[in-house]
């Protein structure tokens, strides 16, 4: 436990840093992320350009900080949307049960069976790539997963006697859902939220890498990797730095969740 002490603070710090960058990124970026600098293409790390430059000679650090807005921002909104919808539907399914539960569960199971990248590809091809389309697509892809987790936890809570007592008292479905069931499943739901956020970041980055995500001249981290892939042969840092940003975010979120929920659940 003591050995993990530093990790428990580093990971949340990285998460908070990236969250802050969604707002502050463009402000504190040393250069205009879209401005072509007086520098070589694919320049290495230097005092002037801390993370080097990209295939246009733009400052990479500024581009990564600005990209945080898209990667972290879109992922966060999509995850909130997915988790919120999943929570509502999952709670409703457990509290109402019967045919409603059955129909909803089978419908969302059907959604799960569609490969997520394929789904994203079709939607973007049909509607074009814009911020709202991306957000809604990502949310739709992850609603079934959120719903599954929420429902399985909620069904277990709903079977407990205190929920039965509330029903026998004549309480309405909403009261049972929000007051009796919800408070007893916050932990798993939050843990799932964090994991789900990581999936969304990775999927968004993949879509962008395939050219289906955030469109130029704006760029999220996935697009940054794609843009600079030409520098791979030269060993340009511009290929690896956005990928490292993705890795730092996802690993930090994962460790943060473990830090908060891991030892609590393992205590029995």
């Amino acid at each position: 436990m003591r050995r993990r002490q530093p990790l428990r603070w580093i990971a949340p710090a990285i998460v908070i840093f990236w969250l802050a960058m969604t707002v502050l990124g463009p402000v504190i970026a040393p250069y205009d992320p879209t401005a072509i600098q007086d520098a070589d293409l694919f320049e290495g790390l230097s005092r002037t350009y801390l993370l080097g430059t990209d295939y246009f000679g733009r400052d990479m650090l500024s581009r990564i900080l600005a990209g945080a807005r898209y990667t972290v921002g879109i992922a966060l909104v999509s995850t909130l949307l997915a988790a919120g919808t999943g929570l509502l539907l999952g709670l409703a399914a457990s509290a109402i049960g019967g045919a409603f539960d059955m129909a909803l569960s089978r419908f969302l199971d059907a959604l799960i069976s569609i490969p997520s990248k394929m789904f994203g590809l079709v939607v973007v091809a049909a509607f074009g790539s814009s911020m709202p389309v991306l957000i809604v697509t990502l949310a739709v892809i992850y609603v079934p997963g959120c719903y599954r987790i929420v429902r399985s936890v909620a069904v277990n809570v709903a079977a407990l006697d205190f929920v039965t007592v509330a029903r026998a008292r004549g309480e309405g479905t909403f009261y049972v859902m929000l007051r009796e069931i919800l408070p007893n499943m916050i932990g798993p739901v939050l843990a799932d939220f964090g994991l789900r956020f990581i999936y969304v970041v990775l999927l968004l980055s993949s879509l962008s890498f395939l050219g289906l995500g955030v469109q130029p001249p704006e760029a999220d981290w996935g697009s940054l990797v794609r843009e600079n892939i030409g520098g791979l042969a030269e060993g340009a840092p511009a290929v690896i730095t956005p990928a490292l940003a993705i890795a730092s975010l996802t690993i930090a979120v994962n460790l943060t969740i473990d830090g908060f929920f891991g030892h609590r659940q393992g205590g029995h």
Partner: protein, 603 residues
Amino acid sequence: MAPLIEIRDLRVIARGEDGAETEIVKGVSFSVHRGEVMGLIGESGSGKTTIALASMGYTRAGCRIAGGTVRIGETEVTSLDAKGLMALRGRRVAYIAQSAAASFNPSRTIMAQVIESALIHRTADEATATAKAVDLFRALAIPDPETIGNRYPHQVSGGQLQRLMAAMALITDPEVVIFDEPTTALDVTTQIEVLKAFKAAIAGRNTTGLYVTHDLAVIAQIADRITVLRHGAVKEIADVEALIQSPADDYSKQLIAAAEPAPRLGAEAAPAGAPLLTVSGLTAGYGGVTAEGLPHIPILSDIDLAIAPGRSLGIIGESGCGKSTLARVIAGLLPAARGTITLKGETLAPALAARTKDQLRRIQIVFQSADTALNPRVAVKDIIGRPLTFYFGLTGPARDKRVRELLDLTHLPASVMDRQPGDLSGGQKQRVNLARALAALPDILLCDEVTSALDTVVAAAILDLIVELRRELNLTTLFISHDLKTVRAICDDVMVLYAGRMVEKLPAAAIAGQVHHPYTQLLFASVPELSTGWLARSGAVREGQIDIAAMQVASGCAFTPRCAWRKAGTCDSQRPPVAANGAGGIIACHRPAEALAGPPATD
């Protein structure tokens, strides 16, 4: 001769989640001679299981042996390394757990698991071990000893599984066997079979045993000496007979008093007036209804009952008999398929949603386990306050005042108001559970096994509270229990259920009478008495290997296969008539009351 088990000044320390250490076994010493069975008795948290486990060098996660010595024969258990412990466990010391169902691997055959420890310790080859297992099955009176080993755990009954686990423990001829509440989860009619089998097996093999239980009447049948434990310390060590007859310690006296709850009700005048709650022709079950309007999986059929205001009706029967379902049907949680429920002359709709708020208020249900019946995330004052707000619109100080009154009524300090259920003891939680039901000012309280999950002494206090509440509030109660002693202590009338049917209804005062339904007789005879010779005195019990679910749909009397009075051609095909038994009760049986009073006779 030196004792076989010698425990000296044993101390076990548990580390909490916050890292704080508590001593849960505080310097316990006792010794057990070869061939002797030592009973360890105490309430939960007394350290009885911890001590028993420590005698094979084992502690549960988060606990450690902090001091003292545990010697078995010449071996000092506390100083053994992992290899030494492996050689000890399963070979010289064997363990029988409370839940055999949880201890068997469901995906392997029984025989493979029973002989496993013999193979691990190489005490026998597979053929010899299998032959020995069959002998053990026979000694433990397990049916079909030759073939039962080929089955999987879910294919045998709970009582059989418990004995199969004993066979598993005995396969290596261990010197010491630890019995950890092995019959606690069983019905009394099954428990008696298992106890008889254990007793015979122990006596036949000269086994030394540590028998952990909270049930004094059970331990009195098996043990030679008893160690009374409380809060991790020894209160008294005495021979069984001496302990029961003349306990020296105050706590032992309390335990013995609580084991035989005295009837708590004075002689009351027969109630006048119309019944408060009437149930007639009630049929209910699960899984939708068939074309005839009967449930696919019937649980209760044709139940009639009536409770007069201020009276208490006890519902008794073994697990699966439908007693809890009855409470759920009356409360509307499970709509009845047939039959009517009337409260104060008002017919109630079968389904919860169709009942009025006031009808719901007048019937309150109290569940067995306060751990699950109270929302762990809600403070006590909100748990009790919610019905006040919901039914009476009370809020703010008026609600708090009423909550305080209810806490007072259930003998809880006002200081628990802001606490959450997790901070309360088992007994306190059950009081909050009761207070919440009382907050609705119900006409009738449905108590479903409200004392079953509690320690004997705590349960006795809750029973006292219920009786007090009945007296003060003139409360009408339906009291569901599997425990005859509890029902006898606090109910006016008793209804016996078997496989979802009423077999007998009798005044509590008539329990001691002679004329009973054959099942009632079996049930009453199976309740352990607090005297050493009870098990030896009690007669042979018919093996209860009956598929209750199948009996629920039987056209005749459901008890026929186990009945010692059965009439071939009648009992298995015709519903038994209900007749008065001459002592104020009614019995559903084909045999006349006079015949049931006599010795068993089948024809």
